[in-house]
Amino acid sequence: MANRVLTGTRFVHGDWACAEGAISAGCGYYAAYPITPATEIAERIAQRFPVLGGKFIQFEDEIGAIASVIGASFSGLKAMTATSGPGVSLMLENIGLAVMTEAPCVIVNVMRGGPSTGQPTMGAQGDVMQCRWGMHGDVETIALAPQSVQEMYDLTVEAFNLSEAYRTPVFLLSDANIGHLYERLTIPREEELTLVDRKRPTLPPSEYLPYRADESLVPPMASFGDGYRFYSTGLTHDEKGYPDMSVETQDKLVRRLCDKIRRNTDKITMVETLMTDDCEVLVVAYGIAARSAATAVKQARERGLKAGLLRLVSLWPFPDKLLEKMAEDAKAVIVAEMNYGQLVREVERAVKPKPVRFLPKLGENPHTPGEILEAIRRIDA
C-alpha cells in the first residue's frame, strides 16, 4: 500500500500541493467538474485516491459535485471539491445547505479573472466577496488565502481542520498564479501533522439531538449508518433537526450558525506581519499580491521609509479588531489586491477614519513591488 503522506521535499505546482494537503488531512472523498485552473487538483487526486481507498468522482457539473460532497461528509468522510469562480457560482446554493446542515467540507477556489468566463488561465482575487456573501441568507464564512505552493499544502490541511472543528464549509481561496506556480514544497512526517476530527455524539441514539450544541455552539455530528437515525434539512429546524417555521427557531438557529464563527474570530484568524511594530504606512495584502507587498516593504525600509506589512492568511471571518489595532499608529493604510476593490472595503470599515489607499490590479499579473513601493513613497512624502 502506498504512503498517504508523501513526506519529503519536492519541486511541484500549487494544485499538486493542494491535492496532497487534502490527502494528508485525511480527505476520503473528492468530487469535482473540470475547470481551469483547478483541474490539476482533480488529476492528482484521481491518480492517488484509488491506491489509498479514497473516493474520487468526476461529476456532471459543480452543483452535483458539491451536493455529493455534503452527502459524503454526512457519511463520515472528510470531503472536498475544487473549482474556480464559475464553478463556485453554481455551487452557492448547496454551500448554503452545508452551512445550514453543518456539513464539514472544503471548497477550493483557484481564482481566475472574471466576471463570467473571464480569463480562464489567468490569476485574480475577484471572488473574495463571492465566498463571503454569495450564499443567500445570513451566513458566516471561513476562508484562507495561500501565498505559496507550501501554503497550498499547509492551508489545505488547516481548511480541513477548521471545517471539522466548526462543522462548516471552509474556502481555500487560491488563484491561477499559485495553482500553476512551481516551487519547493516540504511535506512533514505524518506524525508531525496536527489533524482535527469532528466531535462525535457521546449520548446514546435515544437521547441524541442532532442540532443541540453546548457552549461551543458546534453540535456533535453523527454519520449515516451509525444508528442515530437523524433527520437533517435545509429548512429552518429545531434541535431535533425537524422543520420549524417559528420566529424563535429561526432567530436561535441563525444566531448560533453565525456566532459559532463570529465568536471565534480571534482563534480562527491567521496573519503574518513584517516590520509593523513602528510602521507609519501599513500595507495590507493577501495571497500572491502579498509577495510583492513584502518585497516593497523591505525596499521601503532600505530607503528609510517606515512601512510594514500585514498579510492576511485568513480572510474570513474578517479580523476587524486586529486591523483597527494594527493601524492605530499608522498614518495611512495601503491595500493591494488583484481586483477592482473588494477586501479594501472591509479594511476601510475597520480602520476608519484612517485614510486608506487602494491599489487595484486586473489581469493576470500581481502588482510589482515597484508599484507598491511608489504608493508607500507617496504617502510618506
Binding site: M1, A2, G28, Y29, A31, P50, V51, G53, K55, I57, F59, E60, D61, I63, G64, A65, A67, S68, V69, I70, G71, A72, S73, F74, S75, G76, L77, A79, E93, N94, L97, T101, F224, G225, D226, G227, Y228, R229, F230, Y231, S232, T233, G234, L235, Y242, P243
Partner: protein, 272 residues
C-alpha cells in the same frame, strides 16, 4: 400523534411528526406507506438505510421515515445520494422525490446517476405538476393542460420518465400508481434488494393542484388510476402515458450490471 395505542408502523415512522403536511387525498402518504411497509416486510435494519429527498411536496417524505434521512436542495437529491452510495456501500441509499425535482431542475443528475449505475433506489412521485409551488406545469404535464403558468394550455411535450431512465442505463425500471398498492410495495421491495440504479415512477394524485385544475375530486382521480391503467410487460419506450386515457404500468426493466461502486472497488484492487 397522541393516541395511546401503538401504531403498527410506529417503529418505521417519526410518529411525533404526524399528521404529515400533505393535503387530503394526496398520494404521497400512500407512497410513504408502501415504502415503510416494504422495509418492514423485508425486516431490513433501519440503521442501514438512508432516505434522501429533494424539495417539493414529495421531498417531505424523507422527514417522516425513521431512518437516517436528509432533505437536500431542489433537484440535488441524486448527487447527494451518490455521495452516500459511494462512501458507504454497506448502506441502502433511497431517494424519494417529485417529478419536477428529479426531471426538471435535477434532470441532468438523473440521467448521469442512471448512466453510472450508482447503487440506489429512486422512488419518483409523478403528479404531473409542481405541487408545492401551486400546480404550475412541469416536465411531465400533459400537452394542453391549463395550469397557473400555462393558462392557455401547456405547449410543451412531456417526458416519458420510464423511457428516459431506461435509456440512460437504469437496471430496474417500473411504473405503478398509488392505487396499485400491492404491486407498488412489491416493486419497492425488489428495488430495496436490488444492486444498481433502480427507478420506480409512482403516479400519484395531487389533489389540490392538478386535481382542482382539472375539476376532479380526489376520489375521481383515484378511480382514474384504477380505470385508465393497463398492466403490461413492455419495453419502456412502449409504456405510454396519458392520464386522461391510458397509462401503461408494470415492471419494465430488471437486469444486472456492475454498479459504479463495484467497478470502483475493482479499480482500487487493481491500483494497489
Amino acid at each position: 400523534m397522541t393516541e395511546e395505542m401503538k401504531h403498527p408502523l410506529s417503529d418505521y415512522l417519526r410518529m411525533d411528526r404526524l399528521p404529515h403536511i400533505w393535503c387530503a387525498g394526496c398520494g404521497l402518504g400512500i407512497i410513504l406507506h408502501s415504502y415503510v411497509e416494504a422495509i418492514q416486510e423485508l425486516s431490513m435494519d433501519l440503521d442501514k438505510i438512508v432516505t434522501v429527498s429533494g424539495i417539493g411536496c414529495a421531498g417531505r417524505a424523507s422527514g417522516y421515515v425513521n431512518t437516517d434521512a436528509f432533505h437536500t436542495t431542489h433537484g440535488r437529491a441524486l448527487p447527494f445520494a451518490t455521495g452516500i452510495s459511494i462512501s458507504r456501500p454497506d448502506l441502502k441509499t433511497v431517494v424519494i422525490s417529485g417529478d419536477g425535482d428529479l426531471f426538471a431542475i435535477g434532470g441532468n443528475h438523473l440521467i448521469h446517476a442512471a448512466r453510472r449505475n450508482v447503487d440506489m433506489l429512486v422512488i419518483c412521485s409523478n403528479n404531473f405538476n409542481y405541487g408545492m409551488t401551486g400546480a404550475q406545469y412541469g416536465p411531465t404535464t400533459p400537452l394542453n393542460t391549463r395550469t397557473p403558468t400555462s393558462p392557455y394550455g401547456s405547449i410543451e411535450n412531456p417526458f416519458n420518465l420510464v423511457a428516459l431512465v431506461a435509456s440512460s442505463g437504469a437496471t430496474m425500471v417500473s411504473r405503478w400508481t398509488v392505487y396499485h398498492v400491492y404491486h407498488l410495495k412489491n416493486a419497492i421491495k425488489k428495488g430495496l434488494q436490488k444492486k444498481g440504479f433502480s427507478f420506480i415512477e409512482v403516479i400519484s394524485p395531487c389533489t389540490t393542484g392538478f386535481g382542482r385544475l382539472n375539476k376532479q375530486t380526489p376520489i375521481e382521480m383515484m378511480r382514474q388510476l384504477r380505470d385508465n391503467t393497463k398492466i403490461m410487460k413492455v419495453h419502456p419506450m412502449e409504456a405510454t402515458i396519458d392520464p386522461s386515457t391510458e397509462i401503461i404500468i408494470g415492471d419494465f426493466v430488471d437486469v444486472r450490471k456492475p454498479t459504479y461502486g463495484e467497478i470502483l472497488r475493482e479499480l482500487e484492487a487493481k491500483a494497489r
